[in-house]
């Protein structure tokens, strides 16, 4: 039926201001502004310190928030949080969740949204506050991004890896179908509050877990940070981290600054060559397969060792710098090899990374300490040789240690 017929049927008169010809193509263009702050704050739970109260409730009093907290952190800090929020007239709905990697699945994030629904969280004025390590921050961030298509949230990382890595970017996610972070979102918090004092209660394994990501930042962009880590190895403990003296403060702030410098111009990963992906090519597969499980940073350390081998074999990294880097990992009691890492697994992991990186390997390798180069032509043979290199290096280094002990 033609338009003329319809007009006749409808008895339609010409309408003067109809657009002619009708727009049959529209372009929608907009820019979403994103702004958030990351602060290092001493004494976050000191009753007189208004920082946390402002972050969770603005100037409104009384106010409410949903506090989603790691079970371990809840055991250690519940009383202090409760007293703090009481003092500031903020009514808290508590939700305690597990913070281990095995708990990082969709249903946990959904449960967090259900807590929002149950308390009738206002869409903008009332905040969700995530307290814990990377897993809790990722789960809660994902939940906050989904609920009513996004409600504001605050991150309070309580682990080292949370404070210098997982807690300061905009990525959220959960594991799904044996894939790390397969589902998630880019969703910036309103603010991230970092109090190193929380680090007093992490164990040394979790110190190393965070240090792995700091070593990553040093390797890809900050030779000074690398020197600083070499100088402080052995003295970075839960207590010195919590004390946050000048050396620790430098390590933390350089690491955070470096990470944010890399993230800010590429928040949504339009560019898939990301130096912060260093050590994150093969590690996701390792992290899912290792039994007993590895911490994230431990898997990253094993991946970085392979990448140091690859860089060295390609002539991008001198023998001396390769030794220094591998020794630094070991100095922080990080693993540099793992039985799960076979040539076959490395190939499989690389194939998955290629899909994530849209058809190219885009593997960052060090070019000297403090700089990266991206490669797209790693071969299976090269992976095998890098594995051998690390194994040989480790055996030699173990011999040296044995020799030294004798």
């Amino acid at each position: 039926m033609s338009g003329t017929e319809i007009s006749r049927l409808a008895g339609l008169n010409p309408v003067a201001d109809l657009p002619k010809p009708p727009g049959l193509y529209w372009n929608v263009r907009a820019k979403q502004p994103v702004a958030y702050s990351v602060s290092m704050v001493r004494g976050l739970l000191d009753i007189e310190n208004p920082t946390l109260a402002r972050a969770c409730a603005g100037q409104r009093r009384p106010s409410r928030c949903l506090l989603v907290v790691d079970a371990v952190v809840d055991g250690l800090y519940r009383k202090r949080f409760a007293e703090y929020f009481d003092h500031w007239q903020i009514e808290v709905t508590w939700q305690v969740i597990q913070g281990d990697e095995e708990s990082k699945y969709l249903e946990q994030a959904v449960r967090v949204t259900e807590a929002m629904s149950q308390m009738g969280l206002l869409r903008r004025a009332e905040k969700v506050v995530a307290v814990g390590g990377g897993v809790v921050l990722d789960i809660v961030g994902f939940a906050a991004s989904m609920y009513r298509r996004g409600v504001p949230y605050v991150r309070i990382p309580t682990t080292l890896v949370g404070q210098i890595d997982a807690g300061i970017g905009v990525k959220t996610g959960i594991n799904h179908g044996h894939h790390k972070n397969r589902l998630g979102s880019y969703f910036a918090p309103e603010t991230t509050l970092i109090d190193p004092d929380f680090l007093r209660t992490i164990d040394t394994r979790h110190v190393a877990n965070g240090i792995a990501e700091i070593i990553k930042m040093a390797l890809v962009k900050d030779a000074v940070l690398f020197d600083l880590l070499e100088a402080t190895v052995g003295s970075i403990t839960p207590d010195t981290l919590a004390g946050c003296g000048s050396a620790v403060s430098e390590v933390l702030s350089r690491s955070i600054s470096g990470m944010l410098d890399e993230l800010e111009p590429n928040l949504w990963e339009q560019v898939l060559e990301r130096s912060v992906d260093y050590g994150h090519t093969f590690s996701p597969s390792l992290e899912l397969l290792a039994d007993p499980p590895l911490l994230h940073g431990e898997a990253v350390a094993v991946d970085m060792a392979i990448c140091l081998g690859l860089a060295h074999l390609r002539g991008h990294l001198s023998k001396r710098d390769t030794d220094r880097a591998l020794k630094l990992l070991q100095g922080f009691h990080l693993p540099i090899s793992h039985p799960v890492f076979t040539q076959e697994l490395l190939e499989k992991a690389l194939a998955d990374a290629v899909k994530h990186r849209d058809g190219l390997q885009r593997v960052p390798l060090t070019r000297g300490i403090g700089s990266v180069v991206f490669v797209n032509d790693l071969t299976p043979e090269e992976l095998a040789r890098a594995l051998e290199f690390v194994d040989f290096w480790k055996a030699t280094s173990d011999d040296e240690l044995d020799g030294a002990a004798v």
Copy 2:
């Protein structure tokens, strides 16, 4: 332990380029550019028409895509899609899903992400294509936004409400815990392709379903569109829509233009006073409770009738314009009342909308036809009177119709 002690322990020498004082506060600022196109395309499935192939695969040949299609549409159009994609050397992974409101739940979206995972979808170069009504578009959009934190997708709406409303914005979502669109995201498609020819196979109830949203656009911002609808009432059928003559084309394009004009400056709903929320204050509750179920547009029509009553009783809308608007709804066989709509339900629905609108009612009401005013002070008594007004108007109008029949 003080910083000095750490430095001493670590044998740390002063490093010249350390920032002093260390940055303890960082601001991250960025703008995410979003751009997408909405096109009306005749003959989208014509084998020679390259539009769909370009949208689904760019210039790459051979290529692949994941086509997620409504079960009903699949039954009607499978052969034509298959022939088309064969011709253009695009290998299609088909996923058929249910498109009814009851199927709009999280697991469906997760299944779509699993299909992406199973085919090993590349993160940027290979597209997800959603074909169907609003429910399918919302589910697939949500899945695309979650998978690897977002992969590109294309929308091909096949219903009227999809073509003028659900398919042209950036909102995705699923229902959860008896709440409409409780979980979702803002996630723009790369493009939306609208071929009115798909409307030939919708039923008249689904015509009315879409018309409700067009009437909404007319009431809130386009008096000319309102006149056009009054002039074409009775002649808008699946066949005339598919034929897309000049009057229908005007109706569709004015409706789409109006919607995009409202959306573009407020894509992420920073401003919660949204004229396009007209008719969407009370309807979500109705849509979830009505048994037998109402279509989205039908629930919106009942909500709009209440809002017309509210506007009239406040003196914002003349008796004549109120009559015209209610008659227009009825002319398209849309309901203007429903037994579920009691004063109690209206109050409950409004309370939920208040949470969604961050503590204020922000209810759009017509101020004359083609303009809105937002109100925050609706009272329970007013809701009751508006209900009575519509019931009385309906009874009178039914009497008139009966009289006319006699």
